[in-house]
Symmetry: C2
Subunit: 206 residues, 2 copies
């Protein structure tokens, strides 16, 4: 299969959500126009996005909801749950633990780490907050694909390097710093203040 552009991957994830809602509502087929509305795009773009992985649907009949849902979950690697660890037991970390979207999509936080002795040993949702010094030891025993990094910018690069050395393949980074890591590691950045700042900039040029 060809490598799918990132913009398409993001739309596929939006289509998937809409398909799941439609399926829950008993809908059997769905039109490209409906998917387009949810993905903020056009019917032509939906057809192009879905064409990346073979032909789906019949002209005039729409797409079969169940089959398309299964195929999108497969494409996105969501068929089996992902073990996720959270680095940083601060306020944003706490919010993420409760973010309903994660568990719904098969991402379960399996361990939390911090370096603050006052936090280490306490529990969130029954999950022990562990000492980040034991990261390497734990990851040898409990291989993990994805780490969510929610620590200050000054500490993020070093922790990210330790995660990568210990076999983590993907990092969701909330620290306001661009991590410099090997190309083999997938990194996504979420920076809410930075999003507001780009909005603030947008306001100055309108």
């Amino acid at each position: 299969m060809r490598k799918i552009p990132e913009s398409t991957v993001r739309r596929l994830a939006l289509y998937l959500r809409y398909l799941e809602e439609s399926s829950a509502g008993g809908q059997v087929t769905i039109s490209s126009a409906e998917l387009a509305r949810r993905g903020g795009t056009t019917s032509a773009q939906v057809r192009k996005d879905l064409s990346f992985f073979g032909s789906f649907g019949k002209r005039g009949l729409g797409y079969p909801v169940a089959a398309l849902t299964g195929r999108l979950r497969e494409i996105l690697g969501l068929k089996s749950p992902h073990r996720v660890i959270l680095i940083g037991a601060g306020k944003v970390g706490a919010a993420l633990m409760h973010y309903p979207g994660f568990a719904e999509r098969g991402f379960s936080v399996a361990a939390i780490y911090d370096r603050d002795p006052r936090k280490i040993g306490s529990r969130w949702n029954g999950l022990l907050i562990r000492d980040v010094r034991h990261l390497e030891r734990d990851l040898r025993r409990e291989p993990t694909d994805i780490a969510i990094v929610v620590i200050p910018a000054t500490a993020a690069q070093q922790v990210a390097e330790r995660l990568v050395s210990a076999g983590v393949k993907a990092i969701l980074n909330f620290a306001p710093v661009q991590l410099v890591l090997p190309d083999s590691v997938a990194v996504r950045n979420v920076n809410m203040a930075l999003e507001l700042e780009t909005l603030s900039y947008d306001l100055t040029v309108r």
Copy 2:
């Protein structure tokens, strides 16, 4: 001034953070190499990014921290604070209220709205949760540039349209849906589950 590309705006916000930290540490000048490290880029890119708004710094001497900080804050529209309203008093909304990055950067949440009668009338950080039915009335009295939308996907488009009709110019959208709004409105999307899904996809192709 030319319109600055989005990737540059995001790096400018990262440089600004680093400059503020450096300034707090007493540093007077800063090299493009240091800024490049923080922005995950090269010295050449830093010089190019900063060239968008005139010449700064002298070859070999680095950039003056104080002057560059002021200029970046001006460029990003951060010289005066922004009034922000939060739509949706759920768990993610609660986390955002406590997100330290917002207040630090001059974004202050001035009002919270929800449609749940059990939430309306209670207080978060002393701030009353208001009935979303009064949005238009309130916005006439309290003009607001930026709204943060943290409600389910099914309700987001309609609320966004109401916000735009009532004069809101910029929306930070946490709902997993692409909002369809006039081009004159700035929209940024933050979708943490979607970020994890794109990471999950990245893992399937590595």
